[in-house]
Protein backbone atom coordinates (compact mmCIF):
# COMPACT_ATOMS: atom_id res chain seq x y z
CA UNK A 1 0.00 0.00 0.00
CA UNK A 2 1.29 3.41 -0.96
CA UNK A 3 1.09 6.44 1.29
CA UNK A 4 -0.74 9.45 0.07
CA UNK A 5 -1.32 12.83 1.67
CA UNK A 6 -4.83 14.18 1.63
CA UNK A 7 -5.46 17.77 2.59
CA UNK A 8 -8.82 18.51 4.19
CA UNK A 9 -9.82 22.14 4.08
CA UNK A 10 -11.30 23.48 7.29
CA UNK A 11 -15.07 23.86 7.43
CA UNK A 12 -14.74 26.59 10.09
CA UNK A 13 -15.10 29.45 7.58
CA UNK A 14 -18.54 28.13 6.63
CA UNK A 15 -19.63 27.92 10.26
CA UNK A 16 -18.25 31.41 10.91
CA UNK A 17 -20.01 32.86 7.86
CA UNK A 18 -23.29 31.28 8.98
CA UNK A 19 -22.74 32.65 12.47
CA UNK A 20 -22.18 36.13 11.03
CA UNK A 21 -25.62 35.92 9.42
CA UNK A 22 -27.21 34.84 12.69
CA UNK A 23 -25.60 37.66 14.66
CA UNK A 24 -26.64 40.20 12.02
CA UNK A 25 -30.17 38.80 12.01
CA UNK A 26 -30.32 39.13 15.77
CA UNK A 27 -29.58 42.84 15.77
CA UNK A 28 -30.62 44.13 12.36
CA UNK A 29 -33.43 43.86 9.85
CA UNK A 30 -32.90 41.03 7.42
CA UNK A 31 -36.15 41.45 5.49
CA UNK A 32 -34.70 44.12 3.20
CA UNK A 33 -32.49 43.44 0.21
CA UNK A 34 -30.06 46.17 1.23
CA UNK A 35 -29.51 44.54 4.63
CA UNK A 36 -29.18 41.11 3.06
CA UNK A 37 -26.53 42.50 0.75
CA UNK A 38 -24.62 44.14 3.61
CA UNK A 39 -24.83 40.94 5.63
CA UNK A 40 -23.63 38.89 2.65
CA UNK A 41 -20.59 41.14 2.27
CA UNK A 42 -19.81 40.87 6.00
CA UNK A 43 -20.14 37.10 5.92
CA UNK A 44 -17.82 36.85 2.91
CA UNK A 45 -15.24 38.95 4.77
CA UNK A 46 -15.63 36.73 7.84
CA UNK A 47 -15.27 33.68 5.61
CA UNK A 48 -12.04 34.99 4.06
CA UNK A 49 -10.62 35.98 7.45
CA UNK A 50 -11.36 32.63 9.08
CA UNK A 51 -10.14 30.83 5.96
CA UNK A 52 -6.76 32.42 6.53
CA UNK A 53 -6.72 31.69 10.24
CA UNK A 54 -8.04 28.13 10.25
CA UNK A 55 -5.39 25.67 9.14
CA UNK A 56 -6.10 22.81 6.78
CA UNK A 57 -5.63 19.31 8.07
CA UNK A 58 -3.30 16.98 6.26
CA UNK A 59 -3.67 13.28 6.85
CA UNK A 60 -1.56 10.46 5.59
CA UNK A 61 -3.62 7.79 4.00
CA UNK A 62 -2.86 4.44 2.55
CA UNK A 63 -4.04 3.81 -0.95
CA UNK A 64 -4.18 0.60 -2.87
CA UNK A 65 -2.00 0.71 -5.91
CA UNK A 66 -1.54 -2.05 -8.38
CA UNK A 67 0.57 -1.82 -11.45
CA UNK A 68 -1.29 -1.87 -14.68
CA UNK A 69 -0.86 -5.26 -16.29
CA UNK A 70 -1.11 -4.10 -19.86
CA UNK A 71 -3.97 -6.50 -20.48
CA UNK A 72 -7.30 -4.69 -20.65
CA UNK A 73 -9.33 -7.56 -19.19
CA UNK A 74 -6.83 -8.06 -16.36
CA UNK A 75 -6.81 -4.33 -15.68
CA UNK A 76 -10.56 -4.36 -15.45
CA UNK A 77 -10.49 -7.30 -13.02
CA UNK A 78 -7.81 -5.55 -10.95
CA UNK A 79 -9.73 -2.26 -10.87
CA UNK A 80 -12.83 -4.04 -9.66
CA UNK A 81 -10.80 -5.94 -7.09
CA UNK A 82 -9.17 -2.74 -5.88
CA UNK A 83 -12.56 -1.17 -5.42
CA UNK A 84 -13.79 -4.13 -3.38
CA UNK A 85 -10.59 -4.19 -1.33
CA UNK A 86 -11.14 -0.53 -0.47
CA UNK A 87 -14.64 -1.34 0.72
CA UNK A 88 -13.33 -4.26 2.73
CA UNK A 89 -10.72 -1.99 4.31
CA UNK A 90 -13.41 0.52 5.24
CA UNK A 91 -15.51 -2.19 6.87
CA UNK A 92 -12.46 -3.47 8.73
CA UNK A 93 -12.00 -0.03 10.29
CA UNK A 94 -15.56 0.08 11.52
CA UNK A 95 -16.20 -3.44 12.72
CA UNK A 96 -15.95 -3.77 16.49
CA UNK A 97 -15.75 -7.49 17.17
CA UNK A 98 -12.08 -8.56 17.26
CA UNK A 99 -12.64 -12.03 15.75
CA UNK A 100 -14.47 -10.51 12.79
CA UNK A 101 -11.83 -7.80 12.41
CA UNK A 102 -9.09 -10.43 12.26
CA UNK A 103 -10.88 -12.44 9.57
CA UNK A 104 -11.57 -9.35 7.53
CA UNK A 105 -7.93 -8.29 7.82
CA UNK A 106 -6.88 -11.76 6.72
CA UNK A 107 -9.24 -11.57 3.72
CA UNK A 108 -7.94 -8.11 2.90
CA UNK A 109 -4.32 -9.21 2.94
CA UNK A 110 -5.09 -12.34 0.91
CA UNK A 111 -7.10 -10.24 -1.54
CA UNK A 112 -4.16 -7.87 -1.96
CA UNK A 113 -1.88 -10.82 -2.75
CA UNK A 114 -4.40 -12.18 -5.25
CA UNK A 115 -4.71 -8.94 -7.20
CA UNK A 116 -1.00 -8.19 -6.97
CA UNK A 117 -0.33 -11.56 -8.49
CA UNK A 118 -2.86 -10.95 -11.29
CA UNK A 119 -1.14 -7.65 -11.99
CA UNK A 120 2.08 -9.51 -12.56
CA UNK A 121 0.42 -12.44 -14.34
CA UNK A 122 -2.44 -10.97 -16.40
CA UNK A 123 -3.24 -14.34 -17.95
CA UNK A 124 -4.49 -15.49 -14.57
CA UNK A 125 -7.23 -12.85 -14.53
CA UNK A 126 -9.74 -15.24 -16.08
CA UNK A 127 -9.26 -17.60 -13.13
CA UNK A 128 -10.69 -14.88 -10.90
CA UNK A 129 -13.98 -14.68 -12.75
CA UNK A 130 -16.17 -16.38 -10.13
CA UNK A 131 -14.18 -14.99 -7.23
CA UNK A 132 -14.27 -11.40 -8.47
CA UNK A 133 -17.82 -11.43 -9.77
CA UNK A 134 -19.55 -13.40 -7.08
CA UNK A 135 -17.64 -14.43 -3.94
CA UNK A 136 -15.96 -11.12 -3.24
CA UNK A 137 -18.99 -8.85 -3.94
CA UNK A 138 -21.23 -11.16 -1.92
CA UNK A 139 -18.79 -11.01 0.98
CA UNK A 140 -18.93 -7.21 0.89
CA UNK A 141 -22.72 -7.33 0.70
CA UNK A 142 -22.98 -9.65 3.69
CA UNK A 143 -20.53 -7.53 5.68
CA UNK A 144 -22.51 -4.39 4.89
CA UNK A 145 -25.64 -6.10 6.20
CA UNK A 146 -23.70 -7.08 9.33
CA UNK A 147 -22.55 -3.48 9.83
CA UNK A 148 -26.10 -2.21 9.36
CA UNK A 149 -27.40 -4.58 12.04
CA UNK A 150 -24.58 -3.44 14.29
CA UNK A 151 -25.32 0.20 13.60
CA UNK A 152 -29.00 -0.13 14.41
CA UNK A 153 -28.04 -1.79 17.67
CA UNK A 154 -30.98 -4.13 17.21
CA UNK A 155 -31.18 -7.18 19.43
CA UNK A 156 -33.44 -10.17 19.38
CA UNK A 157 -33.28 -13.84 18.69
CA UNK A 158 -33.56 -13.59 14.91
CA UNK A 159 -31.08 -10.75 14.63
CA UNK A 160 -28.54 -12.48 16.86
CA UNK A 161 -28.91 -15.66 14.83
CA UNK A 162 -28.40 -13.72 11.60
CA UNK A 163 -25.27 -12.07 12.98
CA UNK A 164 -23.88 -15.40 14.13
CA UNK A 165 -24.60 -16.84 10.70
CA UNK A 166 -22.78 -13.95 9.04
CA UNK A 167 -19.81 -14.39 11.39
CA UNK A 168 -19.50 -18.09 10.53
CA UNK A 169 -19.89 -17.27 6.81
CA UNK A 170 -17.04 -14.78 7.05
CA UNK A 171 -14.82 -17.45 8.63
CA UNK A 172 -15.61 -19.66 5.62
CA UNK A 173 -15.01 -16.82 3.18
CA UNK A 174 -11.61 -16.18 4.74
CA UNK A 175 -10.79 -19.79 3.84
CA UNK A 176 -12.20 -19.28 0.35
CA UNK A 177 -9.90 -16.29 -0.16
CA UNK A 178 -6.89 -18.33 0.93
CA UNK A 179 -7.87 -21.25 -1.31
CA UNK A 180 -8.34 -18.87 -4.22
CA UNK A 181 -4.80 -17.62 -3.72
CA UNK A 182 -3.57 -21.16 -3.43
CA UNK A 183 -5.31 -22.15 -6.68
CA UNK A 184 -3.94 -19.09 -8.37
CA UNK A 185 -0.40 -19.87 -7.29
CA UNK A 186 -0.71 -23.58 -8.02
CA UNK A 187 0.87 -23.38 -11.48
CA UNK A 188 3.63 -21.21 -10.14
CA UNK A 189 4.25 -23.63 -7.27
CA UNK A 190 4.10 -26.56 -9.67
CA UNK A 191 6.62 -24.92 -12.00
CA UNK A 192 8.96 -24.26 -9.11
CA UNK A 193 8.65 -27.85 -7.92
CA UNK A 194 9.40 -29.06 -11.45
CA UNK A 195 12.40 -26.75 -11.66
CA UNK A 196 13.66 -28.10 -8.35
CA UNK A 197 13.26 -31.70 -9.54
CA UNK A 198 15.12 -30.95 -12.78
CA UNK A 199 17.84 -29.21 -10.84
CA UNK A 200 18.15 -32.10 -8.40
CA UNK A 201 18.31 -34.57 -11.36
CA UNK A 202 21.11 -32.59 -12.96
CA UNK A 203 23.04 -32.36 -9.75
CA UNK A 204 22.78 -36.14 -9.29
CA UNK A 205 23.95 -36.76 -12.89
CA UNK A 206 26.93 -34.55 -12.32
CA UNK A 207 27.59 -36.37 -9.06
CA UNK A 208 27.24 -33.22 -7.15
CA UNK A 209 24.42 -34.58 -5.09
CA UNK A 210 23.72 -38.04 -3.76
Amino acid sequence: MAKKEIRYKSALPYYAAGLAWLVYGLFFQLYRLSDILICAIISVLVFILIRRLAPDKTVQTEVLEFDRSGDSYADEVIAKGRDMLSKLYGIMGRVEKDVMKNHIRSMYETGQKIYNYVASEPKKASALSKFGNYYFPETIEILNAYMELDRLGATGENINKTKEKIESTIVSMDEVFKKQLDVLLYDKAFDVQTDIKVLEGLLKEEGLKK
Binding site: S10, A11, G18, L19, L26, L30, Y31, C39, Q60
Partner: protein, 183 residues
Protein backbone atom coordinates in the same frame (compact mmCIF):
# COMPACT_ATOMS: atom_id res chain seq x y z
CA UNK B 1 -7.56 4.78 3.78
CA UNK B 2 -7.80 6.63 7.08
CA UNK B 3 -11.05 7.88 8.60
CA UNK B 4 -12.02 11.34 7.42
CA UNK B 5 -11.49 14.13 9.94
CA UNK B 6 -14.47 15.28 12.01
CA UNK B 7 -17.10 17.92 11.37
CA UNK B 8 -14.59 20.76 11.59
CA UNK B 9 -13.13 19.53 8.31
CA UNK B 10 -16.30 18.27 6.66
CA UNK B 11 -16.94 20.95 4.08
CA UNK B 12 -20.19 19.46 2.78
CA UNK B 13 -21.64 19.47 6.28
CA UNK B 14 -20.23 22.97 6.81
CA UNK B 15 -21.99 24.26 3.70
CA UNK B 16 -25.29 22.64 4.72
CA UNK B 17 -25.07 24.09 8.25
CA UNK B 18 -24.14 27.51 6.87
CA UNK B 19 -27.20 27.48 4.59
CA UNK B 20 -29.42 26.51 7.51
CA UNK B 21 -27.91 29.32 9.59
CA UNK B 22 -28.45 31.86 6.78
CA UNK B 23 -32.08 30.83 6.42
CA UNK B 24 -32.60 30.93 10.19
CA UNK B 25 -30.93 34.37 10.32
CA UNK B 26 -33.25 35.69 7.60
CA UNK B 27 -36.29 34.45 9.52
CA UNK B 28 -34.94 35.88 12.77
CA UNK B 29 -34.07 39.20 11.11
CA UNK B 30 -37.57 39.35 9.66
CA UNK B 31 -39.60 38.19 12.64
CA UNK B 32 -37.88 40.24 15.36
CA UNK B 33 -38.24 43.77 13.95
CA UNK B 34 -41.54 43.21 12.13
CA UNK B 35 -43.16 41.49 15.10
CA UNK B 36 -42.13 44.46 17.24
CA UNK B 37 -43.55 46.88 14.68
CA UNK B 38 -46.79 44.92 14.47
CA UNK B 39 -47.09 45.09 18.27
CA UNK B 40 -46.55 48.84 18.10
CA UNK B 41 -49.32 49.18 15.51
CA UNK B 42 -51.66 47.09 17.63
CA UNK B 43 -50.73 49.11 20.70
CA UNK B 44 -51.99 52.24 18.92
CA UNK B 45 -55.43 50.68 18.96
CA UNK B 46 -55.48 48.45 21.99
CA UNK B 47 -52.96 50.16 24.22
CA UNK B 48 -50.46 48.19 26.20
CA UNK B 49 -47.26 48.47 28.11
CA UNK B 50 -45.58 51.90 27.87
CA UNK B 51 -48.62 53.30 26.01
CA UNK B 52 -50.61 56.05 27.64
CA UNK B 53 -53.03 56.56 24.82
CA UNK B 54 -55.10 54.15 22.72
CA UNK B 55 -58.12 54.26 20.45
CA UNK B 56 -59.74 51.51 22.47
CA UNK B 57 -59.46 53.63 25.60
CA UNK B 58 -61.14 56.54 23.80
CA UNK B 59 -63.92 54.23 22.66
CA UNK B 60 -64.36 52.94 26.23
CA UNK B 61 -64.68 56.52 27.45
CA UNK B 62 -67.13 57.26 24.69
CA UNK B 63 -69.19 54.21 25.61
CA UNK B 64 -69.23 55.57 29.16
CA UNK B 65 -70.60 58.96 28.02
CA UNK B 66 -73.17 57.24 25.78
CA UNK B 67 -74.19 55.20 28.81
CA UNK B 68 -74.78 58.44 30.76
CA UNK B 69 -77.01 59.61 27.93
CA UNK B 70 -78.99 56.38 28.06
CA UNK B 71 -79.53 56.86 31.79
CA UNK B 72 -80.77 60.39 31.11
CA UNK B 73 -83.13 59.15 28.40
CA UNK B 74 -84.49 56.40 30.65
CA UNK B 75 -85.15 59.01 33.34
CA UNK B 76 -87.58 60.78 30.99
CA UNK B 77 -89.12 57.61 29.59
CA UNK B 78 -87.33 57.81 26.24
CA UNK B 79 -86.40 54.41 24.80
CA UNK B 80 -82.60 54.06 24.79
CA UNK B 81 -82.57 50.28 24.22
CA UNK B 82 -80.82 50.55 20.86
CA UNK B 83 -78.07 52.76 22.28
CA UNK B 84 -77.56 50.44 25.24
CA UNK B 85 -77.31 47.44 22.94
CA UNK B 86 -74.75 49.24 20.75
CA UNK B 87 -72.69 50.17 23.81
CA UNK B 88 -72.63 46.51 24.76
CA UNK B 89 -71.68 45.47 21.22
CA UNK B 90 -68.95 48.12 21.08
CA UNK B 91 -67.41 46.75 24.26
CA UNK B 92 -67.62 43.17 23.03
CA UNK B 93 -66.24 43.79 19.52
CA UNK B 94 -62.99 41.86 18.97
CA UNK B 95 -61.23 43.58 16.10
CA UNK B 96 -60.43 47.24 15.34
CA UNK B 97 -62.71 47.19 12.29
CA UNK B 98 -65.62 45.71 14.29
CA UNK B 99 -65.06 48.27 17.04
CA UNK B 100 -65.13 51.17 14.58
CA UNK B 101 -68.26 49.83 12.85
CA UNK B 102 -70.06 49.66 16.19
CA UNK B 103 -68.76 53.13 17.01
CA UNK B 104 -70.32 54.56 13.84
CA UNK B 105 -73.63 52.88 14.62
CA UNK B 106 -73.40 54.23 18.17
CA UNK B 107 -72.83 57.77 16.82
CA UNK B 108 -75.96 57.58 14.68
CA UNK B 109 -78.04 56.19 17.55
CA UNK B 110 -76.69 58.79 19.99
CA UNK B 111 -77.44 61.60 17.55
CA UNK B 112 -81.07 60.59 17.09
CA UNK B 113 -81.46 60.17 20.85
CA UNK B 114 -80.03 63.66 21.42
CA UNK B 115 -82.58 65.06 18.98
CA UNK B 116 -85.38 63.42 20.94
CA UNK B 117 -84.00 64.55 24.31
CA UNK B 118 -83.51 68.14 23.14
CA UNK B 119 -87.24 68.29 22.44
CA UNK B 120 -88.05 66.64 25.72
CA UNK B 121 -89.10 68.70 28.74
CA UNK B 122 -86.11 68.23 31.06
CA UNK B 123 -84.86 69.96 34.19
CA UNK B 124 -82.16 72.61 33.75
CA UNK B 125 -79.58 70.41 35.42
CA UNK B 126 -80.33 67.53 33.07
CA UNK B 127 -80.25 69.86 30.06
CA UNK B 128 -76.77 70.93 31.15
CA UNK B 129 -75.81 67.31 31.64
CA UNK B 130 -77.08 66.42 28.14
CA UNK B 131 -75.14 69.29 26.64
CA UNK B 132 -72.02 68.18 28.48
CA UNK B 133 -72.44 64.59 27.27
CA UNK B 134 -72.94 65.79 23.71
CA UNK B 135 -69.76 67.87 23.86
CA UNK B 136 -67.79 65.00 25.34
CA UNK B 137 -69.05 62.60 22.68
CA UNK B 138 -67.96 65.02 19.95
CA UNK B 139 -64.62 65.48 21.60
CA UNK B 140 -64.12 61.70 21.86
CA UNK B 141 -65.04 61.38 18.18
CA UNK B 142 -62.26 63.80 17.28
CA UNK B 143 -59.79 61.85 19.36
CA UNK B 144 -60.89 58.55 17.78
CA UNK B 145 -60.64 60.02 14.26
CA UNK B 146 -57.12 61.25 14.89
CA UNK B 147 -56.20 57.97 16.49
CA UNK B 148 -57.57 55.97 13.58
CA UNK B 149 -55.65 58.09 11.12
CA UNK B 150 -52.43 57.48 13.03
CA UNK B 151 -53.23 53.79 13.37
CA UNK B 152 -53.99 53.45 9.64
CA UNK B 153 -50.75 55.15 8.67
CA UNK B 154 -48.78 52.80 10.88
CA UNK B 155 -50.72 49.73 9.68
CA UNK B 156 -50.20 50.67 6.02
CA UNK B 157 -46.49 51.24 6.57
CA UNK B 158 -46.23 47.84 8.27
CA UNK B 159 -48.28 46.12 5.55
CA UNK B 160 -46.07 47.69 2.89
CA UNK B 161 -42.96 46.32 4.61
CA UNK B 162 -44.27 42.78 4.87
CA UNK B 163 -45.54 42.91 1.28
CA UNK B 164 -42.17 43.72 -0.27
CA UNK B 165 -39.61 41.17 -1.40
CA UNK B 166 -38.03 39.32 0.38
CA UNK B 167 -40.09 39.99 3.52
CA UNK B 168 -43.18 38.70 1.68
CA UNK B 169 -41.54 35.26 1.51
CA UNK B 170 -39.92 35.15 4.94
CA UNK B 171 -43.09 36.25 6.73
CA UNK B 172 -44.83 33.08 5.56
CA UNK B 173 -42.37 31.03 7.61
CA UNK B 174 -42.68 33.14 10.76
CA UNK B 175 -46.45 33.61 10.58
CA UNK B 176 -46.61 37.40 10.31
CA UNK B 177 -49.99 38.48 8.95
CA UNK B 178 -51.08 41.84 7.56
CA UNK B 179 -52.60 44.37 9.92
CA UNK B 180 -56.21 45.48 9.42
CA UNK B 181 -56.67 48.94 8.03
CA UNK B 182 -59.79 50.76 9.22
CA UNK B 183 -61.82 52.24 6.37
Amino acid sequence: MTDRPGILYNRKLGIIIMCVMIFAACLLGTWKPLHKERNEVEALFWGGEHTEYSINEDLEDKAGYAGNMAVLANKYGVDAGELEELIKQLKEAKTPVQKLQKNQALDASAESLIEILVNTDMSEADKKALSSVKTRLESQNDLVKRGVQKYNEAAEAYNKKIGEFPAAIFRIFVGLSAQEVIV
